[in-house]
Symmetry: C2
Subunit: 280 residues, 2 copies
């Protein structure tokens, strides 16, 4: 199928990350590449049309890119989803949101993977980095033990705690707080004193190693180790929970902001592509 | 029954709070009194024997008090439980843990109430203050809305955020993190510069008003408004969850620390009294 531009240039626009700093772009490329290489036997090729791989508003003050790879029939992977959005702000600066996330299907109940950067200036960003649980941890202490205690995720969280410029961040959305695990990394990085150069260092020397370690833990302990046996009723509950999370995610993250940034037409096209990948 | 010392001197030892500072003792007395007065028609008298109302180790370096009132037949209250523990430390100081918590039964699924102080010096303490949820908030966004968004608990949390000496605290127990709501107040209060006098001010002027407001919210929105209709299967799930939380709480908070502090005999007596009130 050498005639098919989707396969010849897979996700080229997504991987450009044209608005990120060097170390930030290198980190994202590393994470996407590690995830896709390790999961290559699990993933179908991208089938997104070009106008969803890259989109912008009329004046090009807002730009975005979406990247989706669905899992194949035998895989535990439901889909992996990457995106970036760049919005020039009326105040002069710009907001960049960069996300890489992975959803699993009901062949396993193991956690998802999520990394998201919200950057409002070269000297300041918010980082969410987590293996969000797919079960209620209160009534599943064994699940907490397997995926959060025995994987030593708390040690990863503590590594970033020791960097002066990194402070705890509490999302304004109560629902997002509920979605995250007890070892979630939710921090602000504020390099006001050291400027953009210090931010580059923090991403390269602190955030990067932790993000890569957590991706490795997720790949090894949640995906590559194979499925987890469940009773049929558990699978039904798990699927209901997964679907609800996907619906709420679209509703919270996209349904109001995308139309505002890109206009109704572009927004509706992008949201439909995500809903299709999410089976919702 | 004027011959019954339990009823003549209800919980006298508990309400002494002999090791707390004035404003801290006043706050605890206020909270216990508000809770017991408002719920007076719900509660049975205390039936704890004197050696559980107050207990100590052989050398009296560790002292403790337990206070339990179970709900009566028509009540939504399962039990309210107050306790304080005072332990002299080998290093010279002392640790004081003061708790007031309330459990509800399956006539309602509304949240519990919890306040806990862990104080290791007159200038430093940890505060946990929350209405811990009784359902998985991820799959119950309506519950999140009713009890956390519409009650504006986030505003209470933010009030304490603005006090210089108050910083976010993250419990070392992942399970405790899971038990708390997204609006939980989990903070350290560190009045190193201002000393014990400043700590008194912070408890009186900042912690106290927030704790009292949150107790009012809990009493009005979770208990006094009556039960919440549930299907039988929901009640079964809720009861399983409540029981598991009680068991884990005894296991984490008491099973290892009480024998160490008070010896096996005292510890076993106290734990049995709690397990009896918890129906576990």
């Amino acid at each position: 199928s050498s005639m098919d531009p989707q396969i010849n240039r897979p996700s080229s626009r997504f991987l450009e990350f044209p608005h990120l700093s060097t170390s930030h772009r290198n980190l994202m490329l590393d994470l996407v590449s590690t995830m896709e290489t390790t999961l290559s036997s699990h993933l179908l090729p991208s089938s997104l049309p070009p106008d969803i791989q890259y989109f912008q508003n009329q004046s090009a003050t807002s730009q975005g890119s979406l990247h989706i790879r669905s899992g194949n029939e035998n895989s535990l992977v439901d889909c992996i989803l990457g995106s970036w959005i760049h919005c020039e702000l009326p105040t002069g600066g710009a907001l960049d949101i960069t996300t890489l996330t992975a959803y699993l299907n009901t062949k396993t109940d193991s956690p998802r993977f999520l990394i998201e950067f919200l950057q409002s200036s070269p000297k300041s960003l918010i980082l969410l980095l987590d293996l969000p649980p797919r079960k209620d941890l209160v009534i599943n202490p064994d699940y907490l033990k397997t995926f959060y205690q025995e994987t030593h995720l708390e040690e990863q969280r503590k590594k970033l705690q020791n960097v002066t410029e990194i402070k705890p961040y509490i999302s304004s959305s109560l629902y997002i707080r509920c979605l995250l695990s007890p070892t979630a990394i939710t921090v602000t990085v504020d390099s006001e004193a050291g400027g953009p150069i210090r931010m580059e260092e923090i991403i390269r020397d602190h955030v990067g190693p932790v993000a890569k370690d957590m991706l490795e833990i997720w790949l090894n302990q949640c995906v590559s180790c194979g499925g987890r046996e469940m009773e049929e009723s558990e699978k039904v509950e798990l699927e209901k929970r997964d679907i609800l999370i996907k619906k709420k995610t679209v509703e919270m993250d996209l349904a109001s902001s995308l139309p505002r940034l890109f206009g109704e037409d572009v927004a509706s096209r992008v949201i439909k592509a995500i809903e299709k990948a999410f089976h919702i």
